[in-house]
């Protein structure tokens, strides 16, 4: 294989980066997952699904994201600083770097927004009401997904909505600083990276960069059906009614025929 030939060409001392790459991908996937969950949680802030639990979920998800971010950064910067990496590997690490920095951008924005909204919507103030968005359920399953646990346990104080904001501010400044350092230390041109996925790649299941914790994408047909007025429901209703009618017609015909047969004989 080409890889093997390249190794020989390099004098045979070329380090096989495949396990390293896979490790990076796994870490990145984890970060990606946590970022996505964090965004979902921040969207619930200020609405009727906001609660002390949500604030705790946000806090813990955020901390996990930060840990993953630091781990990713350390790994990737050390790899990118290594001059002895082959061109291919380097291109791959640069691609992973772009993935990493994009994730971090999203995370930074979401953290800032959660600070803003968290400040605007304190939970304990009786005159401050949450927005009636229509969402009433909890976000505990999302947080559990982020933390990779089965069930979330809530242990925080009842004033976490205000107490956490201070931590959040300092964490935001940490993240901002980290990103600035990243910009300066690592010279990667993001626009030079070529994506591996084509348009529509999201439709293919298992086309992932690494090992996601949840396996298959079940393509779901959910749609906000308000505009069709529960059309699906109606259709199903119609179908069943038609079936029943047809059945009844057949039964009637059968009964009539039977009656005629009996009469004739």
């Amino acid at each position: 294989p080409a890889h093997f030939q390249e190794e020989i060409a390099n004098g045979g001392t070329h380090f096989d980066h495949t396990p390293v790459r896979n490790e990076c991908k796994t870490m990145l996937d984890a970060l990606n997952k946590v970022t996505a969950c964090y965004r979902h949680l921040v969207i619930a802030l200020g609405s009727t699904s906001d609660s002390q639990n949500l604030r705790e979920e946000l806090k813990r998800t955020r901390k996990k994201a930060q840990e993953l971010a630091v781990a990713n950064r350390t790994k990737l910067t050390s790899l990118l600083k290594d001059k002895s990496i082959s061109k291919e590997d380097r291109a791959e690490y640069e691609r992973l770097w772009v993935l990493f920095s994009s994730s971090m951008e999203l995370l930074e924005v979401d953290m800032k927004r959660s600070l803003e909204i968290g400040q605007d919507f304190p939970l304990k103030v009786p005159t401050r009401h949450l927005i009636q968005t229509g969402m009433t359920g909890s976000t505990t399953t999302v947080a559990a997904r982020a933390m990779s646990v089965q069930n979330m346990k809530y242990e925080a104080d009842s004033n976490i909505d205000t107490a956490d904001l201070r931590d959040l501010q300092s964490e935001i400044s940490q993240v901002t600083q980290m990103m600035e350092e990243m910009e300066m230390k690592v010279q990667v041109a993001p626009w030079a990276v070529e994506a591996k996925q084509e348009a529509g790649a999201e439709l293919k299941s298992n086309m992932s960069v690494g090992n996601s914790s949840v396996g298959v994408i079940s393509i779901c047909e959910e749609e906000p059906k308000e505009e069709e007025g529960g059309g699906g429901n109606r259709d199903a209703g119609f179908a069943s009614i038609c079936a029943v009618l047809v059945f009844l017609v057949i039964i009637t015909v059968a009964v009539v025929l039977g009656y005629l047969v009996i009469n004739m004989s």
Partner: protein, 560 residues
């Protein structure tokens, strides 16, 4: 149900003030949103049936007032409709709306990112199994092309976000999807990009440049900087004749001015003298009510808000009502719209009618005016002032009187006056006539003025004007300067305290200057009305401001 308007002030603001900035509007809208959430004083939401499951809350707007402020909220994105989600309007029926979550509220500090939109489209692609709407498909392709380097990230993130959303219970999931979709309807409105750009109205550059060239050619000779203005540009020669001759309601207009009236109807109307002429013409034609109406409309537009109501009523009674004394002839539809608008008059309620009348006058009366004897007469009488004779001095820009210099002179004069006791206590007022004699250089006054500078007059210390004080101080120092240099324009005059020798030399100086100039436009001085004259007398000082100190003078004066 939102039946009554909980914030009438905001409602008024939202309807009336088009100049509210987006940020200001957002703040107000957010305040309103928060107020509406109060279970006691805010709006009542109603549960909505959805798949026989616990229902998400939604709101409906019933009264017209509520709809009007709701429409701003929905246009901005603070609430969204459940049906017909692409049209961000409040419909006058029992349709339902829902509040948007704070994360999706429009704020200026969080710009809407294309990355997020790409992720959203990818998510939608997953959900719709690859069948996107046309505009979404277009946008998707465009973003795929321009954000290609990030595409791996976008796919990854889309998948993860999709999975995270699926962790929620079904009703919440539906609400979430609605929210997101509504957000993107606001920020990436569903219009097909290429079609839209084709339909945008464009003007051929040949047309627009042609218009520009025509404008320049027409107005070139009237531009005071590009061509000579007659008699002279006051900013260059310090001669205000130009302004005097072009006063708003001067009796005899200049030829250039009359020529401008022929350029367009707008020019004629915007010039008060032209408007007067036009009014005269219309009076002869018995169609003066059109212009009167137009003027009243302008008055309404530019007048104070307090008087608007009465003005509108007055206008209606005079011009628009049936059987009105000066009834104007506008078409039925415009009349209908205007009368309807007059029920709730505001500044621009008569705009339609005014435009109609304007076009009427422009197409009809303007043409006839141009051919009328009134205009021809005016044109004939129009005068063309001679160009200023002191042309040579146009090229040598004389230093004009600087306020700093004036102030210093003022201070010197004050100091001097404090030191001296007043010689004369009288401030004599005389008729202008003797003055003309003075100005024509016949008098024995040392201050005969021959300069084209602004001839202001000084008075005795008893009734000093700042100008006079300045003049005095000017003259005082000027004397010294000019005695030594003998150059420059303008004349100092002798204060009474000066001895005869000095005055003689000054006379000589001024006569020399007179001869150099060669002209004393007495008419110029006649047109100006001096404030306080002083008669002949040892105390009187008639001196113009000499705006033209020699350039070397200032440093010297300061030294002195």
């Amino acid at each position: 149900m939102v039946t009554s308007n909980p914030a009438p002030a905001l409602h008024n603001q939202l309807s009336w003030k088009p100049r509210l900035t987006a940020h200001h509007l957002s703040l107000q809208a957010e305040k309103l949103m928060l107020e509406m959430q109060d279970p006691k004083t805010g709006v009542k939401s109603q549960p909505q049936r959805l798949f026989n499951s616990p229902a998400p809350l939604s709101v409906c707007f019933s009264s017209a007032e509520a709809r009007s402020f709701g429409s701003t909220l929905v246009a901005l994105g603070y609430i969204y409709p459940l049906r017909d989600h692409k049209r961000l309007v409040i419909k006058p029926d029992a349709s339902l709306y829902r509040f948007q979550t704070p994360y999706f509220w429009p704020t200026q500090q969080w710009p809407v990112e294309d990355t997020d939109y790409a992720i959203y489209l990818a998510k939608r692609n997953i959900r719709k199994k690859g069948i996107l709407e046309l505009h979404e498909q277009e946008q998707y392709n465009r973003l795929h092309k321009w954000m290609n380097h990030k595409w791996d990230f976008i796919v990854m993130q889309a998948k993860e976000q999709y999975r995270a959303a699926k962790e929620r219970k079904k009703p919440d999931r539906v609400v979430f999807e609605c929210q997101e979709r509504a957000y993107w309807v606001v920020h990436r409105p569903p219009m097909i990009f290429t079609q839209q750009s084709i339909m945008r109205p464009r003007v051929k550059s040949s047309v627009s440049i042609g218009a520009l060239v025509k404008y320049c050619a027409t107005y070139r000779s009237h531009d005071p900087f590009l061509s000579n203005c007659l008699p002279s540009n006051p900013w260059l020669t310090d001669d205000v004749t130009y302004w005097t001759l072009n006063m708003p309601n001067v009796e005899i207009p200049t030829k250039m001015r009359v020529e401008r009236w022929t350029f367009s109807f707008g020019e004629l109307l915007s010039d008060p003298r032209g408007r007067n002429d036009f009014r005269l013409f219309l009076k002869k034609e018995f169609s003066g009510e059109n212009l009167a109406f137009w003027e009243s409309c302008e008055d309404l537009k530019w007048g104070t808000a307090a008087t608007m109501r009465e003005k509108a009523e007055q206008i209606y009674k005079t011009f628009l009502a049936r059987g009105a004394p000066r009834w104007i002839n506008i078409d039925g539809k415009t009349m209908e719209v205007t009368v309807k608008g007059l029920k709730h008059p505001h500044r621009y309620v008569l705009d339609a009618a005014q435009t109609h009348i304007y076009m009427l006058m422009k197409k009809d009366s303007y043409g006839r005016y141009m051919k009328s004897p009134v205009f021809k007469d005016t044109l004939q009488k129009a005068m063309s002032p001679e160009e200023h004779k002191f042309r040579t001095f146009l090229f040598k820009r004389r230093p004009s009187l600087s306020p700093i210099v004036l102030r210093q002179q003022e201070q010197e004069q004050k100091a001097k006056m404090a030191a001296n006791v007043d010689i004369t206590q009288l401030c004599r007022f005389t008729t202008p006539v003797p003055h003309l004699a003075v100005y024509s250089g016949i008098s024995d006054f040392p201050s005969a003025n021959a300069s084209p500078s602004l001839p202001f007059l000084a008075q005795t210390p008893v009734c000093p004007s700042p100008i006079s004080v300045a003049l005095d101080s000017t003259s005082a120092s000027d004397r010294r300067v000019e005695a030594s240099e003998g150059e420059g324009e303008g004349n100092p005059a002798a204060p009474a305290t000066v001895g005869g020798n000095a005055s003689k030399s000054r006379v000589a100086l001024s006569l020399r200057r007179l001869l150099r100039r060669g002209c004393t436009p007495t008419t110029m001085f006649a047109s100006l009305s001096p404030k306080c004259h002083s008669a002949a007398g040892t105390s009187s000082r008639i001196q113009p401001i000499s705006p033209d100190q020699p350039s070397q003078a200032p440093p010297r004066r300061i030294a002195k």
